[in-house]
Assembly symmetry: C2
Homo-oligomer: 322 residues x 2
């Protein structure tokens, strides 16, 4: 580490927790940390705690003078206005001038975009999408986010909010999404919450014996379903098949829209490997018209999960300095 | 008309007919004509007839020396390779090297893209999307086509086939599309064929009295439904409501993907005006998450229908000469 080399701060705000770190230009996360998003009902106290944590890391990394800027990813983060607007998964409602608040606190330039857009830029700079000009990044976490790159550029859209694939409707009049009030969106099925709801539904609607029946209902998640599925549990496999069917349909629709070279998946659900990827690929191909068949790669991000969100956010700083 | 001014040839190949014309740089269609696509089982005889017709127009317009090139729009037309590939609505199957065949015949440079992409470029150069950097063009004709413009550029995608919104699945396991074999695509509902099928279904499934019951089943189309609807016919209104519900849902999904400033609609169905636009707008808004609500315009193309397809195709010639 060259002591004069400029560094970037990356902050990723998720519905549950927030990750932050200090990153060099080659994509090494030098220092990092984590805190709760959820517990802060007010944005002010959130930024105060964030500052306390980061302050320590900044000092360790050589002081504020080495920081080129702050890149932030957050649900419904707007690249143009620097605001978070009506984010269904965050505790702060309405329009929050996040970039301005963070700039005021840290006295550094701030770039904000939605978390999945940040992840897409991270994959393009350091990850599986290196060298690609057309790809779609999909994050399968608490929610489902996406970042769309076409002609080598991230699509921000007219208002800065493009890429909300998680909220597109896959099953009309389908499962209600508590955050948005909309029915049948991809996020209601392919997110951590969605898989959990599917598991509870499948257990309730079936008489079949299953390892999942003895699982603690309050901690039933895709990891528990995975553990049962690799033991051949029929209902657990059914849950992955159902989730893959819906995710595959959504991917097919996305492919017919922007015809990417690859779709990069990231997040908790991808840890189930082929259990989720196989049905997803199969149903994607099944719904594609011939001209798109057998040519779009579904890749899993190979960035370290703990680093990826921070890397993506920090990449915004370098991108705007090029 | 300056006798030295260069001109462009625009050719639009549709499932039923092909339109062609000679256009100046200001978007005036100087000479134009039309022929059947459907009757040509072989691409060779199609190009021969096209040449015969255009040859006459080229002579009228001052000879081949004034022609800067040929722009073509066709279903599944590929901008990169100049081929038509597996077009479900055309009589020619497999991969057709259209640009090469037309270049060989006319001895002029040829640019090809899909018909809706060509329409989008036409709207951007001469029509309702003048000055816009983010919009989606949707053509509601025999089929449903789309062209997506983001960051001021048409999205061709990795393989040149982006923008097939008509084939995205809106109703999983819904109505079968005869051309693609897929179920529940936007095109199976919002195309001319789709509206006709909806009308036949509604008539069959209802006991309600309707002006449509006395219509000739073989010519029942959106014009006939329109004529009944403006007289207050309940089933006719139901057909528009149903079509608007599905189109609105598809538009909402497209908006959440690329967040355009406007959606430009073009084609037969738009002639029904508010009968189709009102339910479409309503259901689009209903399916949008809050951040996108009440800010995307749905506009109807104001280009003369007979000229628009030719203008769009010819615009490819000027675009590639800029």
């Amino acid at each position: 580490m060259n002591a004069n080399e400029p560094l970037a701060i990356g902050i990723d705000i998720g519905g549950t927790g927030t990750k932050f770190g200090i990153v060099d230009r080659d994509g090494n996360v030098l220092f990092s940390g984590e805190m709760s998003t959820k517990k802060h009902k007010e944005i002010g106290s959130f930024i105060d705690e964030l500052y306390e944590h980061l302050h320590v890391l900044i000092d360790k990394a050589g002081g504020i003078g080495r920081m080129r800027g702050i890149g932030m990813g957050a649900p419904n983060g707007n690249y143009y206005s620097g605001t978070i607007e009506y984010a269904p998964n965050l505790p702060w409602k309405g329009i929050i001038p996040l970039a301005k608040l963070v700039t005021d606190k840290f006295q550094l330039p701030v770039k904000l975009t939605n978390d999945a857009n940040a992840a897409a830029i991270g994959e393009m700079m350091y990850g599986a999408a290196k060298g690609m000009k057309d790809f779609i990044m999909i994050t399968l976490g608490t929610g489902v986010g996406s970042g769309i790159v076409a002609n080598g550029q991230l699509i921000y859209g007219h208002d800065g909010f493009a890429g909300e694939l998680g909220h597109t409707i896959v099953i009309p009049d389908g499962r209600m999404h508590e955050g948005t009030g909309k029915k049948g969106s991809l996020e209601s099925y392919a997110s951590a919450t969605g898989v959990r709801l599917t598991a509870l539904e499948v257990l309730e609607n079936s008489q079949e014996d299953s390892l999942l029946r003895s699982a603690d209902k309050s901690t039933l998640d895709s990891k528990v379903v995975y553990d049962a599925a690799i033991k051949g549990d029929k209902l657990a496999l059914e849950i992955f098949e159902f989730t893959g069917k819906i995710l595959g349909l959504a991917l097919a629709n996305a492919v017919m829209f922007s015809s990417p070279e690859a779709i990069i998946l990231f997040g908790g659900l991808t840890k189930s490997g082929d259990l989720i990827l196989k049905p997803t690929r199969m149903h994607m191909e099944e719904n594609l018209i011939q001209v798109f068949q057998n040519k779009v790669k579904i890749l899993v991000s190979h960035l370290k999960e703990s680093d990826a969100a921070i890397l993506g956010a920090s990449a915004l700083v370098w991108e705007s300095n090029q």
